[in-house]
Amino acid sequence: MNKLPMPEQLVIPMAQHAGPPAAPTVSTGDHVTCGQMIGRAADPGSVAVHASGSGIVTGIDQRLVPAGSGLIRSLCAIIATDPPERQPESPQCLDWPEDVSAQLEAIRDAGMTGLGGAAFPTATKLGSERRCEILILNGAECEPYISCDDMLMREHAASVLQGAAIMLELLQAERCIVAIERDKSMALEAITAAAQTQGDNRVIVVAVPTVYPAGGERQLVESLLGVEVPSGRYPIDIGVVCQNVGTAHALAELATAGRPLVTRIVTMTGHGLLEPQNVEAPIGAPISNLIAHCGGLTPDAAQLILGGNMMGYALPSDDFPVTKSTNCVIALGSSEAWMGGEEWPCIRCGECASACPARLLPQELLLAGRADRFEAMQTLGLEDCIECGCCDLVCPSHIPLTSRLRTMKTKLASYREHEAIAAAAQTRYAEHIAREDRAAAEERKRRTELTARLDGDDTSRRTAIEAAIARANTRRKRREDME
């Protein structure tokens, strides 16, 4: 496989994973070596970030960087790299401890995230307290254009299985299923051969049908085991953990060579690219460098897509860094780019419902979204939408359903948050009012008691009080006169 030469500048985001961003541990002017930790895992849900090349930190700035389903602002370490002859052969070595909990810590400190796309911290997934019976290694590339996992399995089959063995130990799982799409015959052969050599009888290799989105976590669990992951739950809730084959390879690299996660394989493809290929690129390398490495764009190039053609999104320019979740960059040629037809009203044909792999009713969801009916969105299972884009493709009215549903998800989340604050405020306000009423009632009671005591008392005390008041008045009068 082709390796991208070290670019002159690296932009390494602190937020490359699901969860809180890493906290920078270097500052402007520092010299860093390849593999040095430059961002610390801020809390257990976070992972560390490493320098993917040696050089000098020229700034820690806020930049717009690619994330899961769009661009986000993140703190980035900007590194001006040393000349190629001063770049080390391999990154700085990390320790691989014997103890299991220390291993999980080491995985977090090595910056391991799922390399399939969602970038979920690997340590969190492997360190779950729930019992895991089956480990699924996902080699069923989700999208038609992407082939980085295919390439990896062909070239590093043994390493992938080694990673699987480490995961099995960490999870205490009994079985590992390596799922590979049926049309990837070379990857299937390579992995099967490697499995035979290793002779680990816990590992089985299964070919799954090539139907998009076969590589979606939930869809894969269902097609392999025939069990559905319940709505709002994770595969671990039914005793299954899914890991991408790339993650397994990265883990094996960590355990055998002490390599932190500093590179990843990116599929560079599309009719708009002169030499489409899979490239191993350092994290933080600019996408423009990758495009240049692949011969540059053709005059026909129309649109740049980050991620697959189904779930990816258009990039406004090529001035963005490769992150841990960047699996694919497509330069669409004008014949491939579908800029979306004119949108027509929904004719309620139900095509979207039959296409939906999560068995949702996109047209009903769309109606609920238009009317801001949040309860309906919830009951219709908006959050189970995996944003695969199938409904968009089949819709005869060209309604961009996926992007609508995505917007609705954000709206639903903020509605939920507001609702929670409002409900809490309502109870707190009720308690506040009750407390004030109680205080007022107590004050009233005290006053009535005092007056009652005064009224019911004998006259001698009353005269004494009146005399005291009179004395006080005279004294005040005298003082006023003196002034």
Binding site: H418, I421, A422, A425, R428, Y429, H432
Partner: protein, 164 residues
């Protein structure tokens, strides 16, 4: 004769059953006031001129208040209220205020003199502090009602975005 008696008995028995069912499965649905209150943002800012969201909801049900008095709810709330009460949605008068759930109050802790006035004004007890000592706002409990701004004698409270 027997027929009539049997029929009457059956009717009476069925009537009893119906009554029983009605008692057992009574519609414990919320009152109109509660339903209206749920449409409101419930941040208790009082910018509508009523003491809180429930009093405003009560006034709406009584028909003595207009539907366009809730600045934090915005036009979404106005439209929902108008729909529920069968009225025409009207724009919200600017002078009512602009409380919003998207903001929280922040105390400049170097200026706070510990007078305790803000704490007493807060409808949701989100302000913490002892007399003569620095006060602070529990951001997670703050509803952005702005009721603490006016009482502060040193103007050390300002509104900030809920998410920085």
């Amino acid at each position: 004769m027997t027929g009539a008696l049997v029929l009457t008995l059956i009717t009476v028995a069925l009537a009893m059953l119906l009554l029983l069912g009605d008692r057992l499965f009574a519609d414990r649905g919320d009152s109109a006031v509660e339903r209206i209150e749920r449409v409101l943002p419930r941040i208790q800012c009082g910018q509508c001129g009523y003491a809180g969201c429930r009093p405003y909801a009560q006034a709406l049900v009584d028909g003595s208040a207009a539907v366009n008095l809730c600045p934090p709810g915005g036009m979404t709330t106005v439209r929902k209220l108008a729909e529920l009460l069968g009225e025409e949605p009207q724009p919200i008068p600017q002078e009512l205020g602009h409380a919003s759930l998207d903001r929280v109050a922040k105390i400049d802790e170097t200026l706070c003199i510990g007078c305790n006035l803000c704490s007493r004004a807060c409808p949701v007890d989100a302000i913490l502090g002892l007399p003569q000592l620095m006060h602070t706002i529990i951001a997670a409990e703050c509803t952005g009602c702005e009721l603490c701004l006016a009482p502060c004698p040193v103007d050390c409270i300002h509104m900030a975005a809920r998410r920085a």
